[in-house]
């Protein structure tokens, strides 16, 4: 397949990240005021890597992905910052340029395959459409490509399934069809927004295996958005934990799970029942996430943080901490490293 990448020398491509997001912010004007959904996100990603974005509902993870896909263009959303994808800024790229990238270079898998597939068109038609738009191919060639793709995502008798409608498919099959649609042009970047949340665990396991397999085949980069820390632990190379539209902690997956640095991440891990835990009380994070209409001046997590007093002088309530990185492990917290270590070990 022909590559539409700008012709950069191999050495230079190593140096600059494949995707580089700097200070990305998204605000929505509403009748009640300005909703700050995403506040200054920074991250980068290399080809072949999987980045997990975790957070609870309203933490801004889906809005981040929509901003990257240019899906907020033409809405009232105010997007600022920079998102360089192979040297092109996705934030300022006009819609026409975005259309050429979407599906071709950046694919997206949505959470709910039933509402993301059009009920009036056959599944095959919808998959072949993406191929037709981006390649100068005949309908016959597009059909052949779509049938092949359906087979690759593990749908039995793809030739026959091509002509069926979404309602003929089960939930797992529909998600496979969505993946086929996203991958038919072999995009270099795939954004999957809660791809398995609507599925049962056994089917979820199949889909996650499939995505990892296809990713290895095409050496694409994957951004996996999820609220399930289990999924993150299984699939991701690096993790970004979001809270109130900010990244509160980021780093390699093992660092996040075994050398947790942010009280929110600690609380999240602690509040999950696991298959190995004996019963007893769970330790929930007290309180509710802050309103995005009126974010606190200090650390966004301070109102729910048990350790805010440790930092002293009310600094947590007054000053917003910066994201401090050490060996690629970033955290946004006023507490010192030794303080965090003590807290982690005491739990």
């Amino acid at each position: 397949m022909t590559q539409l990448q700008p012709s950069t020398p191999a050495t230079e491509q190593e140096a600059i990240p494949f995707l580089d997001v700097r200070n990305l912010s998204v605000k929505f004007p509403t009748d009640d005021g300005l909703v700050s959904a995403v506040n200054g996100m920074d991250f980068s990603l290399q080809r072949g890597q999987t980045l997990g974005i975790v957070g609870e509902s309203g933490s801004g993870k889906s809005v981040t992905s929509q901003a990257l896909m240019g899906l907020l263009k033409g809405t009232s959303a105010q997007v600022s910052g920079q998102a360089l994808f192979q040297g092109r800024d996705l934030v300022t790229l006009p819609e026409s340029g975005m259309r050429r990238l979407r599906g071709r270079n950046i694919g997206m898998i949505f959470q709910d395959p039933l509402s993301a597939l059009h009920p009036f068109y056959t599944v095959g038609h919808q998959i072949a459409e993406a191929y037709l738009v981006h390649n100068s191919a005949t309908r016959k060639q597009a059909r052949a490509a779509a049938v092949e793709m359906l087979g690759r995502v593990g749908i039995p008798s793809p030739e026959q399934r091509f002509d069926e409608y979404p309602h003929h498919f089960s939930g797992g099959m529909r998600q496979r069809a969505m993946i086929a649609m996203a991958l038919i042009c072999e995009p270099e970047l795939l954004i999957a927004d809660e791809p398995t949340t609507a599925l049962d665990v056994t089917v979820q396991a199949q889909i996650l295996d499939l995505m990892a397999e296809l990713q290895a085949e095409t050496n694409s980069a994957l951004i996996l958005i999820t609220h399930d820390l289990g999924v993150v632990a299984e699939v991701c190379d690096s993790v970004l934990v979001m809270y109130g539209g900010q990244c509160v902690e980021s780093g390699a997956v093992d660092e996040i799970f075994y050398d947790t640095r942010h009280p929110y991440t600690l609380g999240l891990l602690k509040s999950m029942p696991t298959l190995n835990s004996s019963s007893g009380r769970l330790s929930p994070i007290p309180g509710q996430p802050p309103s995005l209409l009126d974010l606190p001046a200090g650390c966004i997590f301070s109102s729910r943080c048990e350790y805010a007093a440790l930092a002293g002088d009310g600094v947590c309530r007054e000053q917003r901490p910066a994201l401090q990185a050490e060996n690629g492990h970033g955290t946004r917290c006023h507490l010192s490293g030794p303080q965090i270590t003590t807290i982690r070990n005491s739990r």
Binding site: E56, T202, Q204, H227, G230, S271
Partner: protein, 343 residues
């Protein structure tokens, strides 16, 4: 009274008739049925929790709805406190309602948006014509306090609450009649993890204080493990394995239970890399047309390893229903050996 079963379900069935549509090629309009629940038996003791797990479409919600008599069973018995309630009608059914209550999955859909929270919580007591000592309003305020809300929330509307708070309202409503059994249908699935833990803790506190028994229906096995005393695993309308929580999770004996447990993603990257996975092929068969013999045979990872003769046995013979002692599998011993080999 300690060991007496508060709820006993025997051979419970629910068949939904499928009528051929106007354009159905099946002109005979034969009386076909979707066997949503097909011969389920279990018992639940006072103050205990039975976790009901399985994939979507396995019949776990239908079972819960029959126990609370939101659906009429096709067959079988439901004994609550020693009396069969599966066929109650009229006045008797009305009186039964206060014994079994329900908590629903979606706290956004299960509360009337035009009703204040106070009215919603009082509704069961009004319907049952109960006049608590000290007045209805005081009782509602007590209940609000019991579920961790504030008395001043009485006059608020559901939209003013977060998901976790709404679920607390649902819980207050369910416990208002002091039921013996509460059927919790995916009560925490719609909530974020940090809030989910708050609600799970609340449910456990209420159980400790009031001795209520829960049927806890969920697809999240970690939550089920945390809250349940007994666990029953359902597949295509049947219970394939049941037993005490610790035994079932430590030593699953039905190949389906094994696959289900191994599919749960672990929030522990190192363990996840080590773990050997049993992967099921394909999807759940349609309950309108279930496989002959063992319902699990079409996806069973074990069946391919069996000699021809035994495979035929799985295809033709229905395994005995799962009891506390044995899973519903012809080759449970082999399944256990395979699982031991995997780990």
């Amino acid at each position: 009274m300690d060991n007496q079963a508060i709820l006993q379900v025997e051979n419970l069935q629910k068949h939904f008739p499928v009528k051929g549509g106007l354009f159905s090629p099946d002109s005979s309009r034969a009386a076909k049925a979707v066997k949503a629940v097909d011969g389920v038996s279990f018992s639940l003791e006072r103050g205990q929790t039975l976790g009901l797990v399985g994939e979507s479409g396995c019949g776990k919600s239908t079972t819960g709805r029959m126990i609370s008599r939101l659906l009429d069973p096709t067959g079988g018995r439901i004994m609550v406190d020693g009396a069969d309630i599966s066929q109650l009608r009229g006045r008797e059914l009305y009186n039964f309602r206060r014994k079994v209550q329900m908590i629903f999955q979606d706290p956004f859909a299960s509360l009337n948006p035009r009703q204040t929270v106070g009215t919603a919580i009082a509704a069961p007591m009004v319907a049952q014509r109960i006049n608590p000592a000290g007045g209805l309003k005081n009782r509602v305020k007590e209940l609000l306090d019991q579920v961790g809300l504030k008395p001043e929330h009485y006059n608020r509307f559901p939209h003013e609450f977060s998901g976790g708070q709404r679920q607390r309202v649902g819980i207050a409503r369910a416990i208002s009649l002091n039921p013996s059994v509460i059927v919790c249908d995916e009560p925490v699935s719609a909530l974020d993890v940090s809030v989910q833990a708050q609600v799970v803790n609340l449910l456990q506190e209420i159980q400790r204080d009031t001795g209520v028994a829960y049927i806890f229906i969920a697809h999240d096995l970690s939550v089920v493990r945390h809250i349940s005393h007994q666990v029953a695993v359902m597949y295509l309308g049947k219970i394939v394995e049941q037993g005490s929580r610790d035994e079932l999770f430590r030593d699953p004996r039905h190949p389906y239970t094994q696959a289900l447990l191994s599919a749960v993603p672990l929030p522990d990257p190192r363990a996840a890399r080590r773990q050997q996975k049993i992967r099921l092929r394909g999807d759940l068969p349609s309950p309108a047309n279930p496989p002959s013999g063992c319902v699990f045979r079409t996806r069973c990872p074990l069946i391919g390893t069996l000699p021809e003769e035994q495979q035929q046995h799985c295809i033709s013979e229905i395994p005995a229903p799962a009891g506390p002692a044995a899973p519903a599998c012809h080759h449970a011993g082999l399944a256990a050996a395979v699982a031991a080999g995997v780990q």
